[in-house]
Symmetry: C2
Subunit: 410 residues, 2 copies
C-alpha cells in the first residue's frame, strides 16, 4: 500500500494556513493577493518534486507529473470563501500533492504519476466554477467578460490582469492522459462526526435546483386595512413555506434537503401590509426522480396558494444542476483503502455540496472522499478537522491512488 | 346649521395640491422646502380671515381666532409621507380653515371661534408626532436633539434652522381656551367605501403594540446539513407566523388587525441555512382587554416555539401606544351633523391609524371624522377622495363646529 509522510503533510497544511490567516481560519477569496500567493506556493511545491507546474489563464494551478502515464488527476480548489476555514478545498489539493510525492518517491509506478490541480474559484466569487469549467472546455470568453466579484464588484478580467495572468493560455484536460479524477474535501456537514466515522466515500454529488418565488398582493396601511380585506404577500409567503415544510417530508428521500435562504417583504416597513414578497428557495438530492418529485410538489403548492389565496404566486427557476454519479471502480478503491486504514469507520454517502468533480464527471470517471468536519461547520473561520482525521484521510486517498496506478500498470 | 362655501374650500384644496406636486399626489416631507411653503401658505390664509397666525419653534402652524372664546381647536397635519397623497392630514387642516372662516363670516358666535392648527411631523419623518407632543408639553429638547430624518438623515435641529425656526418659542396648549379638539382625516382604509358610507365618526384611536421577534438557530451549509440536524431560524419563523395566523383570529376582536411587516433571515443567502431571523410584528385594537389578550397569545406562541422547536425565540417590545377614546358629546355632535348632511350614510368606527388626536386625548376632549378613501389607498400618490365626499365631510365638520359653539354660548 502506498504510504504517505504524515509529518511532511501536516507541515504543508500549517504552511499554507499562514497565507491569509483570519482568526483560526483563512481569508483567501479568488484572485486576492493571498490567493495568488497560495497558488505560487503550490507551484513551488510541485516543481520541487519534479512536476511541470504553472498557473494558467483562468488561475488554475496545474502540476504535471513526469512520465508517459497513465496518470491520475487529483486535486480540488485552494481559494476560500470570505473569512472561512483553513481546510475546505485546500485539503484535497494537499492530499493530491502528498499522493504525487509519495508516488514519485516510491519508484514503484514506472511512467505513471499524479497530476495535481487546484481549480480556480470553485467558491464562486466570480462565477460558477470557472476553473473546472475552463478545464473541460465549458467556459466561454463571454462568461469571463461578464463575471464580477460578488463581494466588491471587481471584474474577473481586471482581477486576472492584476494577478499577471492576461495572455496566458487556459489549459484544457487531455482526456487520454488520465485514468480518472480524484478529489478529497471536508464533509461540510456533521454526518461522519455524528456517526463516529472517519471517511465518507461519495456516491454522487447532489443536483441543486434553485428558485425564486414571487408573490404579489396589495400594499396597505397596517392599521386601517381590515384583516378580511387584505391581500398580504407576507402571509401568503408564510402559508406557502409552512405547506412546504409539511408536505416535502412526505415525498422527499431520506437525504433530500430543502432550504429557504431569504424572505424579502416589500416594502418591509413595520406599519405597512406587504404588497410583495420574494423567497429564495432551493432543494437538493442525488436522485433525478426525487428532484422531479420535489419540483412537482413545489409547483402544486404554489398553484394551490395562487388559486386559493388572495395573492398571485409564481415560480421562477434560477438554476438547475444535475446530480453527478461517482465511478463504481473508484468508489471501490476508496472503500478498500479506507477499510485498511480505518476498518469499519467509513461509509458511502452523497455529497450535498457541489464540487469541481461534478463539473468533471461527464468527461472522466470521478470519485470523492470526505473527512469529518468538527461540529459540521464549514465556510466559517472556525471550521476544523482533527489532525488524526486529516492524516487518516490522506492515507486512504494515497492508498487508493497507489492501488489504481498499480492496477493500471497491470 | 353652519354652512360652508364649497367652491372656496375646493379652491383651497387645489391650491395646496400645487405645492410639492408628485404625479396626482404630493411630496411634502416634514420641513422640506415644499412643506415650509405649505405652512406659510396656511399662515397667509389664516391671517386673511383675521386670525393671529404663526409657525412655532417645532413648525406647528397655529392660527388663533379673535374673541375671548370659548374656542374650538381644529386641524390635523399638513406634511405628507414621501411621494404620498394630496389629502391625508391636509383634509383636516382645510376643513378647520373653512370652519373657522364660516364661523367668522356668520357673525352668529360672538366671542367664539375656531383656532386652526397644523401639527408638525405627524407622519414621523423625524420622530413620533413631535408637533402634537410639543403642544401638550410632552416633547423634550433631548428628543429634538436626537431626531434625524429617517429618509436622508438630516438632524431635526438643522432642518428647523433651515426653515428659519431656530429661537422661535414652542407654543403649548392653553387648556382653558378650548372646548375641545376636532380632527378630520381620510379613512386610509376601504371600510366606508365598501359599505357605501360617506362619514365615519371615530369611536377610538386604536392602541398599537410593536414587537421585534428574534430567533437564534444555527447557520449551516444548505447542501450538507441534513434536515433533522438543522436549527433553521427561518423555518422557526415561518412556523411561528403561521401559528399566529391560525390562533389570532380565535382571540382577536372583529376589528383587530395584526401585521408582519418584515422578515429578515441571516445571512440571507440562497445556499445557507439561516442561523438567525428577525420579525417586525405589530397588532392594533381599540380595546385594552383585547390588546392584552393578543399580547398574552403572542407570548404563549413564542414560548411554545422556543420550547418545542430547535431554535431560541424571544420577544422584544419596540413600542406600545394606548387606545384613545373619543369624547361622547363630540361623537354625538358629529353624528347629528352627519345625519343632516347624509342621512343614514354615516357610521361609528375605530381609527386603525394613529393621529394627533391620540396625543391630545388625555388632555382635552377629542373627536375625529373620516371621509372615504377611494380603494382604501393612503400613503401613496394615487390616494384620493371624490369631490362630493370632500364637500360632504366639510359640511358635517362645520355643522358640528357650529352646533358645539352654539351650545357653549348657551
Amino acid at each position: 500500500m502506498l504510504e504517505i509522510n504524515a509529518d511532511r503533510l501536516l507541515a504543508d497544511f500549517y504552511d499554507l494556513r499562514k497565507i491569509g490567516t483570519f482568526k483560526t481560519g483563512v481569508h483567501r477569496p479568488t484572485l486576492s493577493a493571498d490567493d495568488i500567493r497560495s497558488r505560487h506556493w503550490l507551484v513551488d511545491k510541485l516543481r520541487a518534486i519534479g512536476h511541470e507546474a504553472e498557473i494558467d489563464g483562468i488561475a488554475n494551478v496545474i502540476g504535471r507529473a513526469p512520465g508517459k502515464g497513465p496518470h491520475i488527476l487529483a486535486g480540488s480548489h485552494i481559494e476560500t470563501q470570505n473569512e472561512a476555514g483553513w481546510l475546505d478545498g485546500a485539503l484535497g489539493v494537499l492530499y493530491a500533492l502528498e499522493a504525487a510525492r509519495a508516488v514519485a518517491e516510491s519508484g514503484a509506478y514506472g511512467e505513471s504519476g499524479v497530476d495535481v490541480i487546484a481549480f480556480a474559484d470553485e467558491e464562486g466569487h466570480f462565477s460558477d466554477m470557472p476553473g473546472s469549467n475552463s478545464w473541460v472546455g465549458q467556459l466561454t470568453e463571454e462568461t469571463i467578460d461578464q463575471a464580477v466579484d460578488r463581494t466588491h464588484g471587481l471584474p474577473l478580467r481586471e482581477a486576472l490582469d492584476k494577478a499577471g495572468l492576461t495572455g496566458k493560455p487556459r489549459r484544457q484536460m487531455e482526456r487520454e492522459r488520465y485514468l480518472c479524477f480524484l478529489e478529497a474535501h471536508i464533509e461540510q456537514g456533521g454526518w461522519l462526526e455524528a456517526n463516529d466515522l472517519t471517511i465518507g466515500v461519495v456516491t454522487s454529488i447532489v443536483g441543486s435546483w434553485q428558485y425564486r418565488i414571487v408573490i404579489e398582493g396589495q400594499q396597505n396601511h397596517a392599521g386601517t386595512t381590515m384583516m378580511k380585506m387584505r391581500r398580504d404577500a407576507g402571509v401568503a409567503a408564510t402559508r406557502l413555506l409552512q405547506a412546504i415544510e409539511t408536505e416535502f417530508p412526505k415525498i422527499a428521500a431520506e437525504l433530500s434537503v430543502w432550504t429557504t435562504g431569504r424572505i424579502t417583504l416589500d416594502p418591509g416597513a413595520p406599519a405597512i401590509v406587504p404588497g410583495g414578497a420574494e423567497i429564495l428557495f432551493q432543494f437538493r438530492d442525488a436522485d433525478p426522480a426525487v428532484l422531479d418529485r420535489m419540483h412537482a410538489k413545489l409547483e402544486e403548492l404554489i398553484k394551490a396558494e395562487d388559486t386559493n389565496g388572495p395573492c398571485d404566486v409564481r415560480l421562477e427557476i434560477v438554476s438547475i444542476t444535475k446530480p453527478a454519479l461517482m465511478d463504481e471502480t473508484l468508489k471501490a478503491a476508496f472503500t478498500a483503502s479506507a477499510e485498511r486504514v480505518c476498518p469499519g469507520k467509513h461509509t458511502l454517502m452523497p455529497s450535498g455540496a457541489g464540487h469541481d468533480a461534478r463539473t468533471l464527471a461527464p468527461y472522466i470517471p470521478c470519485a470523492m472522499l470526505f473527512v469529518p468536519s468538527i461540529n459540521g461547520v464549514s465556510h466559517h473561520w472556525s471550521e476544523n478537522t482533527s489532525d488524526a482525521d486529516i492524516i487518516a484521510g490522506a492515507r486512504v486517498f494515497a492508498g487508493a491512488v497507489g492501488d489504481l496506478l498499480a492496477a493500471a500498470k497491470g
